[in-house]
Symmetry: C2
Subunit: 223 residues, 2 copies
């Protein structure tokens, strides 16, 4: 598929091969899911062995970021390497009349690119500020400032999304031709929600939950 302004380009790596109606390369839809998911799974290869590591990510345009300890194997191994970053919402079990037609409702993005390290302490600090404020609006300025040593101990990786696919299933079982078969069929939905904030036990008295955090909890961001 040739790229357009609205879609990511597609090669054999990301072409949707099966169940075509579930797949898309549309930028806006892919971005929305990447932004909603608080965690991704990053795939990388060391000596032919694949590794899949869960981590938080953030996005700026077509660029994805993730971070970790400068000593992390994932971060050291990924610089300059091909990676796949996948975000998934499992939305429910789909129970059909046959085992074959059982399925899951889900939304998942696979994004492909080459990982690079953010170079320079100022650049790293700026990326970490964007990360922090992206998840928790306005929080960076309220925190004990980051030290030079902390910046040095943190690695930030980025990749430009070269190709990406979103796949979605959000429907009752598809075996309507077998609907007369006498077995319960339907969906067992999953919900992923944020619960009540749990203040640290050792906080000084009189510090209330900041408004942006109440708003985050109320927003149901995990959707």
């Amino acid at each position: 598929m040739p790229p357009t302004e609205n879609d990511y380009p597609t090669t054999e790596i990301s072409r949707v091969r099966r169940e075509y109606p579930r797949g898309s390369h549309e930028r806006a839809v892919i971005h929305a899911l990447l932004d909603a998911a608080p965690v991704c799974h990053v795939g990388y290869v060391i000596d032919g062995q694949p590794f899949v590591t869960p981590t938080m990510h953030w996005r700026d345009g077509d660029r994805l970021y993730w971070h970790g300890s400068a000593a992390s194997r994932m971060l050291r191994a990924s610089d300059g390497a091909r990676v796949c970053l996948t975000c998934t919402f499992m939305d429910g079990f789909v129970l059909a009349r046959s085992a074959f037609n059982h399925s899951v409702n889900y939304r998942s993005v696979m994004a492909f690119g080459t990982a690079r390290k953010v170079e320079g302490d100022a650049e790293k600090a700026a990326a970490l500020k964007a990360f922090t404020d992206g998840v928790f609006p306005g929080r960076w300025e309220t925190l004990r400032p980051m030290t030079d040593q902390e910046v040095k101990a943190t690695s930030v990786l980025w990749m430009d999304i070269e190709e990406a696919t979103i796949k979605t299933r959000a429907a009752p079982p598809g075996d309507v031709d077998e609907a007369a078969f006498p077995v319960w069929a339907g969906v067992l939905p999953f919900h992923w929600t944020m619960g009540e904030a749990q203040p640290a036990p050792d906080m000084p008295d009189g510090i209330a939950l900041p408004e942006p955090l109440s708003a985050l909890i109320a927003s149901g961001r995990l959707r």
Copy 2:
């Protein structure tokens, strides 16, 4: 670490390198998380490019299974290949007094092995029965029986867990030495739950939700 009856063996692939108290190789704990997670992310490599695909999995002892269309790239590419299968529960954001000490509460298993195809239609059907009844107890016998063609259209992969690691964080922010700093700190917990069953719109009248499914919903299995 030498393997014991209770622990998976460890090489450089799975050794816990950092934050040691969070990591373990204990079989029983690893199995419990693999069984609770309704989805995993499988990492595999094609021509040097890593792919990370979400899919359901199931377990029999130290053997993990997953399945899909016989035409699936993931299943065709994985036979005989090294894979990493990761299951993750994201349990909450951990907000500290400094950006550096922010974290997440989570539980995650990484399991390593070599993928193999289940050969033989009877063996495949038996594996799919174990899968179906494992998630939905007793359901297989209530379904429209699987056809030979459906068995042939389905591939089942397995791997024996050669090494595995579980990492866990379940705690308030760790920066107690900075507790006097005047900013809100604590945990924003996530909950992953199963909602009310949604019957298929085209079911015949009089088919109630089977008891094992009510029990599954009530059990809060997604923990």
